[in-house]
């Protein structure tokens, strides 16, 4: 196997815009907000950046095609800039591009920026789009909540979980994310809610109610990466390095082959095995200090904690109800509020997750800082549908850990 990315690349600086309904800002305004913070954090000049990656998924809704919008917004000095798209994992793809460029020695310092300006559609929820001229001939009329909601029916059938018990565990996930989001000044949703509010909310796609669904937000997040050596030469210490970067894409098995029962993510399981191996982690439930997972819907988080091998299969409900993933629990999950409350500006989300880990690992997360000092943080950024998706995982941690 390849030697992997572990400790080859350090995060030099990060930034993240305020997420939310940014009615008065264009995507370019969000990009510069994240970039300015990252540049100041890195302590470098713009012209020290050798290459850049732009992650955005629904570009027709804001900046349009190509990497030029990033190059123009930041006035980058004609360096290589690439736009990447991989459903909701687009931000992680930008990070992967920048990290790999540094690891390859093709760039000393590289930039990854994700952005999405979603609140110009005129309605709530993700933009409704066509799926490609051939897919439109036969794909079901699926929305994001409707495709993820099906996890619940298959999960219940497989594990014999009562509908009410599952719904309550899902509600606990959302209540927890709202508690966490309330402590995050950059979060889109900062209100606390209770279980009754979740359970009594209008149904979006059965059994997902309104509060089982994450916010649709405007926002941007940004990372500047380099080698540990260069980071040190720039005066940085207590480095946060990349331990693992893995991606797994569906190949049609879930959608077309009857070996998948619909209750879990095939990609996440495969991706997680590779990520732990790359990072040298043998017991993730004990070793990972914090998770930011792709909680687009409460049920996604629930199932994902099993697919990442943290909760035993069929037992996530128990861990959730025990408070295992709460901010003061053993392994906090979505300590920043997650997609649910920090918000989900698609192209920015993967980088936002890493941003939170970066802050937490440095003890800079303010009111929401995990009490016990974190060592490894893991992000899970999923794009697509349960039956057809890409799963992107990153593990970051203290240099040498």
């Amino acid at each position: 196997m390849a030697s992997g990315i572990r400790d080859k690349v350090a995060i030099l600086g990060m930034g993240c815009s305020q997420f939310g309904e940014r009615w008065s800002d264009n995507a370019e305004d969000l990009m510069i907000e994240a970039f300015t913070e990252a540049l100041a954090d890195a302590g470098i000049e713009k012209n020290q950046i050798d290459a850049a990656w732009l992650g955005t998924a629904i570009e027709e809704q804001h900046v349009g095609k190509s990497a030029v919008p990033l190059s123009m917004a930041l006035r980058l000095p004609n360096i290589p800039v690439t736009r990447v798209e991989n459903y909701c994992a687009s931000g992680s793809e930008a990070f992967r591009g920048a990290v790999y460029a540094v690891a390859a020695g093709a760039a000393d310092i590289a930039l990854a920026l994700g952005v999405e300006k979603l609140k110009d559609t005129g309605y709530g929820g993700l933009p409704q789009r066509n799926r490609g001229s051939v897919n439109d001939l036969f794909w079901a009329n699926v929305s994001a909540p409707g495709s993820f909601a099906q996890l619940a029916s298959a999960y219940r059938a497989k594990h014999g979980i009562d509908a009410g018990d599952l719904k309550r565990a899902m509600a606990h996930i959302s209540v927890k994310s709202h508690d966490n989001g309330a402590r995050n000044p950059k979060a889109h949703l900062r209100n606390r809610i209770d279980e009754d509010k979740v359970l009594n909310a209008p149904m979006i796609a059965e059994p997902l109610g309104l509060f089982d669904c994450c916010g649709v937000s405007d926002g941007s997040a940004c990372a500047i990466v380099t080698t540990p050596e260069i980071a040190k030469s720039l005066g940085k210490h207590d480095l946060i390095t990349v331990k693992a970067l893995q991606l797994a894409a569906s190949n049609g098995l879930e959608a077309q082959h009857n070996s998948w029962d619909g209750s879990h993510f095939v990609t996440t399981r495969k991706c997680a095995e590779r990520a732990y191996k790359e990072a040298g982690i043998t017991n993730p439930r004990d070793q990972i200090s914090l998770f930011e997972v792709h909680d687009c819907f409460s049920i996604t988080e629930l199932v994902t904690m099993e697919d990442l091998f943290i909760s035993p299969e069929g037992r996530a409900v128990k861990d959730i109800m025990d408070g295992f993933y709460d901010a003061d629990g053993k392994v906090p999950c979505q300590i920043d509020g997650g997609l649910k409350c920090f918000g989900h500006p698609i192209g920015a989300s993967g980088l936002r997750m890493i941003y939170e880990m970066y802050l937490q690992l440095q003890g800079r997360a303010g009111d929401r800082q995990r009490k016990e000092e974190p060592v490894f943080g893991m992000t899970h950024n999923l794009g697509g549908f349960p039956h057809q998706n890409v799963c992107s995982l990153a593990i970051v941690g203290k240099m040498g850990a």
């Binding site: 066509n130 099906q150 029916s153």
Partner: protein, 495 residues
């Protein structure tokens, strides 16, 4: 060899609008509606039209039969979805018939069904193989019109040809008269009707007896020998008056299905014929009439073979497969009779690339997937590389039809976010019995029926998307609970 009917099938949409609901809503405006406000009528689902209903009636007709011998598909309707794109061709595609086939649409009169059947029989006498004849109707009606009360939606299909017929074609006759009791001009959505008393006295009671007398004379059949008289008009008592005039037995007058179905236009003579054939005994003589700018009269005689015909859903089975629908507001909505706020999500452009569609027609209309000749794995859609992770062979897929396969439900939801003309949108993963699966839209979901993982599902041919900007509509297959097969649902479905 005898010429006649080899097999028959029927289809009625499962939703039955309770006529009292119409009267309840519009009685203030037209108190006269109260007199019609009894019983129920079939109403097509939002994703049904004359084509989809013709497909279902044809599938019922052809169940268990070899389709490769069929030499032509004729379709009759006055509510064709397309003015210029052969509707019978879509039916033939959905039935996965061979391409060496005559296809033809018969239109523009309530007699399209009965005249079309005559033409199909005449053509079949000289054809290489049997002809599938489908009549289907889904007419739009204005709110609070008598037509809204009396019309119904439905289809019937018969396979006609030479051989071991279940009903022998004895003969037919047509009387022509440009008698216009109602019409629908080109580009107009609704029928324009003249006074019913004139229709009855100058139309039905003068023109129909002429046709009946002529066909009896021509065939040498005695009026009293007619066992079943199918007169497809909604108007009360007219059939009995005609029977009396023509010397037919009053017991021969067939139920016009007004109480349970409504009158399905050009399809109604064929629906009534199929209904009669369901219970016909060898030797029974069925007289079928069709009225519209004159009158057709056809006589069939059931043969011994009718007793051996495999059971089918036909008209009676579909009459029983009903759901009483009291939601008249939904009927108004899906038929565009009220202007609904559909929301911005409904604005997504549904343009179909015609070249894309033609290239992918086996998948999109015929429901053809692939079967791997290396490992035997079935999959939908067909692809260059086998989906079986232990195979992955390239270029080994043979065509494999999925439309008539049984399936089980794997996962599902009821979605209120995505745009649907009839929310919530139900969809989920279904798994076919021999392999292959599909994330499918569901249709005809009874809101009172609990969906459960493991339940039996089957496919139906439906409208997938309407392209309102261009007048196109694309069809695909949707899943619906197979309620005839639920007894065998496995235990894991229990929750």
């Amino acid at each position: 060899m005898d010429l006649g009917i080899l097999a028959f099938g029927g289809y009625l949409p499962q939703s039955r609008l309770q006529r009292a609901e119409i009267s309840k809503m519009h009685g203030w405006y037209n108190p006269g509606l109260k007199g019609l406000a009894k019983g129920e009528r079939t109403i097509a689902n939002w994703d049904e039209d004359a084509i989809t209903m013709a497909v279902e009636a044809s599938r019922d007709c052809l169940a268990g039969l070899d389709r490769s011998e069929i030499s032509a598909v004729f379709m009759a309707s006055t509510s064709f979805p397309f003015d210029d794109r052969q509707n019978a061709g879509v039916v033939a595609d959905a039935l996965n018939l061979k391409s060496q086939l005559m296809t033809l649409d018969l239109a523009a009169s309530q007699r399209a069904g009965s005249s079309g059947l005559s033409v199909a029989l005449q053509a079949a006498s000289g054809a290489e193989g049997p002809i599938l004849f489908a009549a289907s109707e889904q007419r739009k009606t204005k709110a609070a019109s008598p037509q809204e009360m009396t019309y119904g939606d439905g289809a019937a299909a018969v396979l006609v040809g030479k051989g071991e017929v279940i009903a022998k074609f004895i003969g037919s006759h047509t009387v022509f008269a440009d008698f216009v009791d109602h019409f629908r001009g080109s580009g107009h959505a609704y029928d324009y009707a003249w006074e019913e008393r004139w229709l009855r006295d100058e139309g039905y009671l003068k023109i129909v007896p002429d046709a009946i007398k002529a066909v009896l004379d021509k065939t040498g059949i005695t009026a009293s020998d007619i066992t079943t008289f199918c007169f497809p008009a909604a108007m009360k008592r007219v059939a009995s008056m005609l029977a009396k005039k023509a010397g037919l037995a009053d017991e021969a007058v067939a139920d016009n299905l007004q109480a349970t179905c409504g009158e399905a236009g050009a399809a109604h003579p064929v629906i009534m014929l199929v209904h009669a054939l369901e219970t016909a005994r060898p030797g029974d003589k069925i007289l079928v009439t069709g009225f519209g700018q004159g009158c057709d009269a056809l006589i069939f005689e059931a043969t011994d073979a009718i007793e051996k015909l495999a059971p089918r859903t036909a008209v009676s089975g579909h009459l029983a497969r009903r759901r009483a629908d009291t939601n008249y507001a939904r009927f108004l909505t899906v038929n565009g009779l009220v202007t609904m706020e559909e929301g911005i999500r409904a604005e997504v452009d549904k343009q179909t690339g015609l070249s894309t569609h033609y290239r992918n027609r086996d998948m999109a209309q015929r429901m053809i997937g692939g079967g791997c000749t290396e490992c035997g794995t079935l999959q939908f859609p067909k692809s260059n590389v086998c989906v079986n992770p232990n195979c992955g062979a390239i270029g080994t897929q043979e065509d494999h039809p999925f439309a008539d396969k049984k399936a089980r439900l794997n996962s599902f939801t009821a979605d209120r976010l995505t745009f649907s003309p009839d929310p919530p949108a139900y969809y989920g993963m279904i798994q076919f019995e021999d392999g292959g699966r599909l994330m499918a839209d569901f249709t005809d979901i009874d809101p009172d029926q609990e969906l459960a993982v493991g339940m039996s599902m089957k496919l139906m041919f439906r409208v997938k998307d309407y392209d309102k900007n261009r007048g196109f509509r694309r069809y695909f297959w949707k899943a619906t609970p197979d309620n005839d097969d639920q007894v065998s649902a496995p235990a894991e479905a229990a929750e």
